[in-house]
Structure formats: structure tokens, C-alpha cells
């Protein structure tokens, strides 16, 4: 078999690894338009912040491609697919053939069409070149404005703040992280950022970037102006679908795939930030442009390219952020209202905030702030759609942990089929009668 992968980040690399694990002889080729191999783009803000060096950007051993006998075309853009001939044309007149093709083309940073957005020192943070550009300028700047108060914008702002830059974040929504969490928890995070000197302006948008050659200020639609020497557009990402679209593969919000991550062409699969996959808590197909989802999807797509018929369970939207030591983990649906049929459990104590959303006694979403240790346990309850009525009162308690869900594992054994769950249950006897211990 001849496997071709377009994209060299989380999904593409995970697919390549899975293909090789199961097929030692196959020809595997990976194409990426980026020259630097195997770097984790999620670490770019850590690089900007000076927390890590470029050396530590790699998420796989440097000899990964060689060790797995994967042929690479790096720094080469895939231009077109000839689906009849089953070939892909790269820039530089290279044509590669395939039996099975994976589109793991990822996403591109959203840009803003603003007067002045073409100036030097207006950046997005998506690839290594962007990060290097920002780092090269850091010594020359004192203040920066970040446009966008979502996860990406805030991470960009946090990186600059760690470099002792004065940062203002311009947020169109009424609160930060509006796609990720509810207003209450976002308020606590905004407080934390402001306490560390980051300015947060909500409900406003930039109207222009001014300056002669390079940036001098950002003008806002409320008439305010902010002097700055750098602008970062951190508005999120759009799926990079041009290759799929130009070859008439079906796309909607992202590339449309079935439960086997197969596109409208049975020989072509898609995974990662470009794929519109089943979302576990929403029960519909959408993009979850997240690292863990991309890795999982790359693996599942590869198994199906190998003909193993592995259905994808679906992705769970989940995020983890940490700003100045305040952690926040969120999953699934976080902003629904009681009126929409959700039961909401919540608890606040200082910067501690916990909220769990239930529908028919199943957890469909959560936000944990500050005390996040049990987030993973909750993730299992969401993923396996477990009826939690018997432990509902324990969910937000400080001592909630794995032990508290063991009665559920005993009761719904078939949902917790993973061997490791059963290993912990060997000596478990329901309703053990003994004196209370702790």
C-alpha cells in the first residue's frame, strides 16, 4: 500500500506513526509546507515567553521520520489532487501517487481586514516563522495590543506579559474566553490577568492600526487609542480547506467526514483542525481544533486507511489554560441555561470555581478553575455518558476523585471497558460494610 499524508503536525504525524506501527512494509510519505519538522505549535507562546528554547519545540524525536521510514517533502506545498489518477501535485513540479490519502492540512490563523493591518509588527501566532518574527522584535518594543480575547489571544497576551511587556487585550465579546467558558469563570480569569498588569477591554473592536512604517497605535471603535509598537491578531483559526475545495471534496465548516473519518472520496481521509468530526457532547459534526483531538483523529484515520474499520467515538471539546498559576479546565457544553433543559451544579470560593452541566443526569460539560485535579475523572464520565445520579452530590466536593466513581464503574461495567478500569476493581465489592475510614 502507498500512503500519502498532507500535513506534518499533530494529526499527520500521529497518522504516520500509526500506519507504520501496523504496517512495517508500506510506503508512507508525508508532505508539509513547513520546513521545520515535528514542532508543536501549541508551544509557540511558551517559546515567545522564553519558557522554552526552540530545541524543546519538538514533540517527537528528531529522527522520528527516519526511524519510521517515512519519506518526507518538507517546505513543499501540496497544490492539487488528481482524484482520478490518485496523485497529488506539489509545488516544484513533484507528483506523488497514493492508494490512501490523508488530508491533515490543519488551520490558518484568522486575520483582520483593518486599515493598517499590513504594517510591519502586526502578527498572528500560528507557525514558527511568526514566533521568530515576534521574538526578533521583543527587545525593541515596550507595549503591545492583542486583538482577540479567546484562548489564542489570551495565550499571546500572557506570553508578552511574561516578557515584561505592557499588554492590552481588545475583546469584542462581553467577556474573555467567550467560546470556551461562561461569564462567571471568565470574570475570575480576567481578574487574574488584570492583577498581573494585563489590560482587558471588553465589548470593543479595533478600527484601525496607525503608524508610519511600523505600528504606533491601535484605534478602537469607541474612540479610544492605544499606543503600542506591536499588534498580535489572536482571533482564532480557520480550517485550511483550499486543497480539499479545489479537488471538489465535500466541505462545510470543515472537510466533511463520516464516522471512519473518510471524506466524500472513499480513498481520501481527513483528520485534525481541518476535519468536521462528530462532537460527543453536542451530538453533531463540528470542528474541534484541539491537539488531543487531532492526535486521536490521526490515529483513527490511519487505522481506517489500513482497512481496520475503526469508528471514531467522536471528539470532546476540551481546553486547559494556566495564567500566572491560575488553572482552568473546561469541557463540552459550558454555557447552556437551565431553560434549555440543563441542570447546573456550581460552586465558588475565592478563585475556585466549579460548574458541571447535566442533561438527563449525564454530564455534558464542565468548568473547573483553580482546583482542577478531578477534571480527568469528569472527562471519563462525559465520554462514557454515565448516569451520575447516585454521586451527584459528590461531584463538586473538594475530595471528589476516582474512588468516588468506582460504584458507577461496578454498575456500568460495559461502559468502562478499558482494561485499566477493571484492574482497579478486582477487589471491589459493592456495599462493603465496615467502619468508615476517611
Amino acid at each position: 500500500m502507498n500512503y500519502l499524508i498532507i500535513g506534518g503536525s499533530a494529526a499527520g504525524v500521529s497518522a504516520a506513526e500509526t500506519l507504520r506501527k501496523h504496517d512495517k512494509k508500506a510506503s508512507i510519505t508525508l508532505v508539509s509546507d513547513e520546513s521545520l519538522p515535528l514542532y508543536s505549535r501549541c508551544l509557540l507562546t511558551y517559546l515567545i515567553a522564553g519558557v522554552i528554547s526552540e530545541e524543546k519545540l519538538h514533540f517527537k524525536n528528531k529522527d522520528f521520520y527516519q526511524a519510521n521510514a517515512i519519506k518526507t517533502y518538507l517546505g513543499k506545498k501540496a497544490l492539487t489532487i488528481d482524484r482520478k489518477k490518485k496523485t497529488v501535485n506539489l509545488e516544484g513540479k513533484t507528483t506523488l501517487s497514493y492508494d490512501r490519502l490523508l488530508l491533515a492540512t490543519g488551520a490558518l490563523a484568522k486575520t483582520m481586514d483593518l486599515p493598517g493591518s499590513d504594517k510591519k509588527s502586526v502578527f498572528t501566532v500560528r507557525n514558527i516563522g511568526d514566533a521568530r518574527g515576534i521574538i526578533a522584535m521583543l527587545d525593541k518594543i515596550k507595549t503591545a495590543v492583542v486583538l482577540g480575547g479567546g484562548l489564542i489571544g489570551l495565550r499571546d497576551a500572557y506570553a508578552l506579559a511574561l516578557k515584561q511587556k505592557k499588554v492590552a487585550v481588545v475583546v469584542k465579546s462581553p467577556h474573555v474566553l467567550s467560546q470556551m467558558i461562561d461569564a462567571d469563570s471568565a470574570g475570575i480569569i480576567a481578574q487574574q490577568l488584570m492583577a498581573h498588569g494585563i489590560e482587558i477591554l471588553t465589548g470593543v473592536e479595533a478600527s484601525a492600526i496607525t503608524g508610519a512604517d511600523s505600528v504606533e497605535a491601535v484605534a478602537l471603535d469607541n474612540g479610544q487609542t492605544f499606543d503600542c509598537q506591536m499588534v498580535i491578531v489572536g482571533k482564532g483559526v480557520n480550517p485550511n480547506m483550499s486543497l480539499a475545495e479545489s479537488s471538489q471534496i465535500k466541505t462545510e465548516e470543515g472537510i466533511v467526514v463520516n464516522e471512519f473519518l473518510q471524506t466524500s472520496d472513499e480513498h481520501i481521509f481527513a483528520a485534525g483542525d481541518v476535519a468536521q468530526t462528530y462532537d460527543i457532547t453536542r451530538g453533531s459534526y463540528r470542528i474541534n481544533a484541539l491537539w488531543p483531538c487531532a492526535v486521536e483523529q490521526g490515529e483513527v484515520a490511519a487505522l481506517n486507511m489500513l482497512g481496520k474499520n475503526r469508528a471514531y467515538d467522536g471528539s470532546l471539546a476540551m481546553n486547559s489554560v494556566d495564567f500566572f498559576g491560575l488553572s482552568c479546565i473546561s469541557m463540552g457544553i459550558t454555557k447552556a441555561q437551565k431553560e434549555e433543559g440543563y441542570e447546573i451544579l456550581s460552586k465558588t470560593r475565592g478563585t475556585l470555581y466549579k460548574k458541571i452541566l447535566l442533561k438527563e443526569n449525564r454530564i455534558v460539560g464542565m468548568v473547573f478553575l483553580d482546583d482542577v485535579k478531578a477534571a480527568g475523572v469528569v472527562s471519563a464520565l462525559i465520554r462514557y455518558k454515565v448516569d451520575i445520579s447516585s454521586i451527584k452530590t459528590l461531584l463538586l466536593e473538594d475530595n471528589f476523585d476516582y474512588a468516588k466513581i468506582m460504584p458507577l464503574i461496578a454498575r456500568f461495567r460495559e461502559k468502562f471497558s478499558q482494561e485499566e478500569f477493571q484492574d482497579t476493581m478486582i477487589s471491589y465489592i459493592p456495599r462493603i460494610t465496615a467502619s468508615p475510614l476517611c
Binding site: 486521536e296 482542577v372 480527568g376 472527562s379 476516582y402 460504584p407 476517611c438
Partner: protein, 170 residues
């Protein structure tokens, strides 16, 4: 990118199990774990170390009994898939889930996905810590320290056999 302190324990069949009927929640395992992961590996001296040693095992109540729980070294480990820095890895020889501390940036993605809640945030050093199967010793500190014999290391079959024998004795 050599992973330091690769576990010497190469048999993927061997795991640490907890017998719920014997665990009395004394937390000796927690203490032994923290001491084992201190610089001095000595309780008295560990207490005065500048970064306090962190335990990677936790005792918790299950109904009216207790359980000592730590990383289960899952075959398909969600923490490895979720790790965006390549710090969490599977050791192909032992099947252990190992962590390259130098690569961890403390993003807590592993904490987010571990169904056992077995990954702990080391806030002082801003890295995740978890059971590393005691690479500096031949046995496991928690199992060796357990005063009731609730903690057991061996294969699943051996553990099941041990539980059966106990029943017969009664």
C-alpha cells in the same frame, strides 16, 4: 531526547494493585512515595528540602473502604495523546507511561484527560508529576511501605490468586 531514568522494570504484565478490603487509609504509601521522590530519600531530611517532595499516589475513600490509586500506565494512554510537548511517552519495552520532565511545560492537558486523576500538578516547579514506577529501586516504595499488605505488585493473575487464598482462609 533521551528519556531519563527509564524504568528498570521491564515486564508490562506487572502492575501495582490495591486490595480494598485491606487498605485502612493510613496513607503510608503517600509518605513513602513522597520520600522516594525527594532528593535525600530520607523522611527527616526531605522535610527541609527547598522544593517539597511530591507524592504521586493518593488514598481516597470508596464508600466505606479506602483505595490507594496511582497511574495505571494505560496501554492506550490518553495523557500521551493529549501531551502537546512530547513529554508523556510510552516506553515500548516496559509499556510504562513515562515522562520527560525537561519537556513538560505544565499545560495540564494530561491532568485534563487522565480518568484516574493520577497526574498531579507540581505547582512549585510548574510540571506534571506522576508514578514513575520508582526507577531508583528494584521494588516499589508504596508497595514496600504498605503495612497491611493492601498494595501488591505482580501480575493480575497473581493478585486474583492472592485474593482467593485470603477468602479460603476466612
Amino acid at each position: 531526547m533521551a528519556v531519563k531514568k527509564l524504568s528498570q522494570k521491564k515486564d508490562p504484565q506487572i502492575k501495582i494493585f490495591c486490595d480494598l478490603s485491606k487498605c485502612v487509609a493510613c496513607k503510608t504509601c503517600e509518605l513513602a512515595c513522597a520520600v522516594e521522590h525527594s532528593q535525600s530519600k530520607d523522611l527527616e531530611r526531605a522535610l527541609s528540602e527547598t522544593t517539597r517532595p511530591k507524592k504521586r499516589v493518593a488514598v481516597s475513600a470508596v464508600g466505606e473502604r479506602a483505595l490507594s490509586i496511582h497511574c495505571q500506565h494505560c496501554q492506550e494512554a490518553p495523557c500521551v495523546s493529549a501531551c502537546m510537548s512530547g513529554a508523556m511517552q510510552k516506553d515500548p519495552a516496559s509499556g510504562a507511561t513515562i515522562q520527560d520532565k525537561d519537556k513538560c511545560v505544565g499545560c495540564w492537558m494530561c491532568v485534563m484527560v487522565c480518568p484516574f486523576g493520577a497526574i498531579v500538578r507540581d505547582i512549585e516547579n510548574h510540571i506534571a508529576v506522576k508514578c514513575d514506577l520508582c526507577p531508583d529501586r528494584d521494588d516499589y516504595a508504596c508497595v514496600a511501605a504498605c503495612p497491611t499488605g493492601a498494595l501488591f505488585s505482580g501480575t493480575k493473575e497473581e493478585f486474583e490468586k492472592k485474593l482467593k487464598e485470603k477468602k479460603v482462609k476466612k
